[in-house]
Amino acid sequence: MRSVPPARRGDRAFRLLAAGSAGTVLLLMAGLFVALGAGAWPAVRRFGVGFVVSNTWNPVTERFGALSSIYGTLVSTLLALLIAVPLSVIIALFLVELAHPTVARVVGGAIELLAAVPSIIFGMWGLFVFAPYMADHVQPALSKTLGFLPLFTGPPLGIGMLSAGVILALMILPFVTAVMRDVFRMVPAVVKEAAYGMGSTTWEVTRGVTVRYGAAGMIGAVFLGLGRAVGETMAVTFVIGNDHAVSASLFAAGNSIASTLANEFTEAAEPLYRSCLVYLGLVLLVLTVAIQAAAQLWLRRILRRMGRSG
């Protein structure tokens, strides 16, 4: 071996270390798929792909289907995004474009604090404070005004899909807002000033420059929130009602993949039952990867359309 100068040796060692560290990520990912796949194998063999479209969940007769859990995961996440994303955009724009710097700093700090609240706190607050409020005020009002829609029918119990969606929205709001604020901040001042110089109003600059410039970053922020909402466990388990049912009404109890796992894993002693729960975990992993892949593709398309190839 040739003698290597000491400085170079450090470089090489660091390179190896860095590559090794990066390699563990791939190894972990592969290991995760292999472990889940192996654990889920008995269930896959027994139920096949039909598992994801069947809505039976009967541990006594050992017949399992994941439809209600998948449905609940998607619906609660969608609800959370519908509520959180518009709010986040408005808050972030306010902080960057309109607010007095002191106000922006204080509110920004509050948002970061909110992001640090553990999910179990959201869950308990949701169960003991928020769900009763939903049952007594929000849900009766909704069924009175929008009760003709199947979405808002049924007894106002306060616990169910709607409450889970709102709690999830509150949980992802700080993340999405913080990222959007940073995205809007990165819009070069020169571009904005040029627009103002052309005689644009604040609204026109916001719409035509800030939002357009930050579009890719905004989508990234949305997917960050989405990723968090899909797998959120504790808070959802507390308020979703935990019923293996698919119902049109948002007032009804449902469940999500994560809540089912949290509830049932400890006492699932029978091999097939346990395997089905692992299968459910595999479905969640595949779902998450699929969402991330779709996000990447979409992002690339948008960047290309905007003339900046990613």
């Binding site: 769900a131 119990l157 616990i159 293996h244 509830n263 006492e267």
Partner: protein, 366 residues
């Protein structure tokens, strides 16, 4: 500058490592007994590991604490759930497992296990109906099953009124709350409904988790309690101790003898005393729907699982010694925590089973 600071860090790390190793050596040096295993282990060097059911965790940990002070034997119990406890004892990663639902004799034989009851408790229906105080509402088993099947939808239903002629019941919807997580409590509760209602037997069955025909699920006793206390017209089921501590409105039940009984330590003990333990193979005994005028119909025992062939006689002796002490001296602590000690004749049967079945190196442990 850079090189200097690197050298500093390296020096610091080296110094710390050296100090740590030295400390390690010293600690090892202080306890030479640890290394010298050929001699029979002193009882105070033994730590017994157990894992399983969450329901008896408070009493097991209190017993373990007191027993440690009395005997020096340390006991470490992890409440990971009955399913986990069974899996761990089968894998021999713990000295004993604990389960709220008994294993069948065939399952015990398949894994070379012995099972015996340790402590009892009761499951109690709890309600939240405007104007109904604890103990005022009475339900029969069949009615309870019909409610949880979703057949009886209102508290003013004539079936409910028939059992409670003098109670002013509101025209409120019944909201059903069950456990969302798999649990021994659910196993005992559904086992009772299974016995008293053919419709329940056909549609749902017995299990730690079942396909509930109606209602919503709360996580843990506390989750069910929170949902029931929140919703007008709600009915759920929780551990007796939990209902008592939270001042929840429990319902009385009509037992197998046709008598109305309330959940008390005495009515749980009556259920255990009426049961025919002697002919229950491997102590497979479910205390639901037992005969006897005073028996609470949803009573259950929590079980301990140990291997028949013990690898280490001293450890096995220390472990059975702990259980023996619990039977003899643990009753007051159990009652204080609202658990129910086993009747004496059952304890005698358990001890006979230990003598006959638990072996180490070919000979009996006790």
């Amino acid at each position: 500058m850079k090189i200097q600071s690197t050298a500093w860090v390296l020096g610091l790390v080296a110094a710390l490592t050296f100090a740590w190793c030295k400390g390690e050596q010293q600690v090892a040096g202080e306890q030479p007994a640890d290394r010298a295993t050929p001699e029979p282990a002193r009882p105070d060097a033994i730590t017994i590991n157990g894992a399983g059911a969450t329901f008896p965790y408070p009493i097991y940990s209190q017993w373990a604490d007191t027993y440690h002070k009395v005997s020096g034997v340390k006991l470490n119990y992890q409440s990971i759930g009955s399913g986990g406890g069974i899996a761990q004892i089968e894998a021999k990663t713990v000295d004993f497992g604990a389960s709220d639902a008994p294993l069948k004799a065939e399952e015990l034989d398949a894994h070379g296990l012995v099972q015996f009851p340790m402590v009892m408790g009761g499951v109690v229906p709890v309600v939240n109906i405007a104007g109904v105080e604890p103990g005022q509402l009475t339900l029969s088993g069949a009615l309870l099953a019909d409610i949880f099947l979703g057949k009886v939808k209102k508290w003013s239903d004539k079936g409910v009124r028939k059992e409670n002629p003098e109670l002013a019941l509101p025209d409120a919807d019944i909201s059903i709350v069950h456990r969302a997580d798999g649990s021994g409590t659910t196993w005992i509760f559904t086992n009772y409904l299974d016995k008293v209602s053919p419709a329940w037997h056909e549609k749902v069955g017995t299990g730690k988790a079942v396909a509930w025909p109606a209602g919503m699920g709360g996580k843990g006793n506390e989750g069910v309690a929170a949902y029931v206390q929140r919703m007008n017209g709600a009915i759920g089921y929780v551990e007796y101790a939990y209902a008592l501590q939270n001042g929840m409105a429990h319902a009385g039940l009509v037992n197998r003898a046709g008598k109305v009984v309330m959940p008390t330590v005495e009515s749980f003990q009556a259920a255990a005393a009426s049961a025919d333990w002697a002919s229950a193979k491997g102590f497979y005994m479910v205390l639901t729907d037992q005969p006897g005028d005073a028996s609470w119909p949803i009573t259950g025992a929590s079980f301990i699982l140990v291997h028949k062939e013990q690898p280490d006689a001293a450890r096995a002796k220390a472990m059975l010694g702990f259980f023996d002490w619990c039977y003899a001296h643990g009753a007051d602590q159990a009652k204080a925590l609202h658990y129910v000690p086993l009747p004496d004749q059952v304890v005698d049967l358990v001890k006979a089973a230990w003598r006959d079945q638990v072996k180490a190196g070919g000979g009996p442990v006790l």
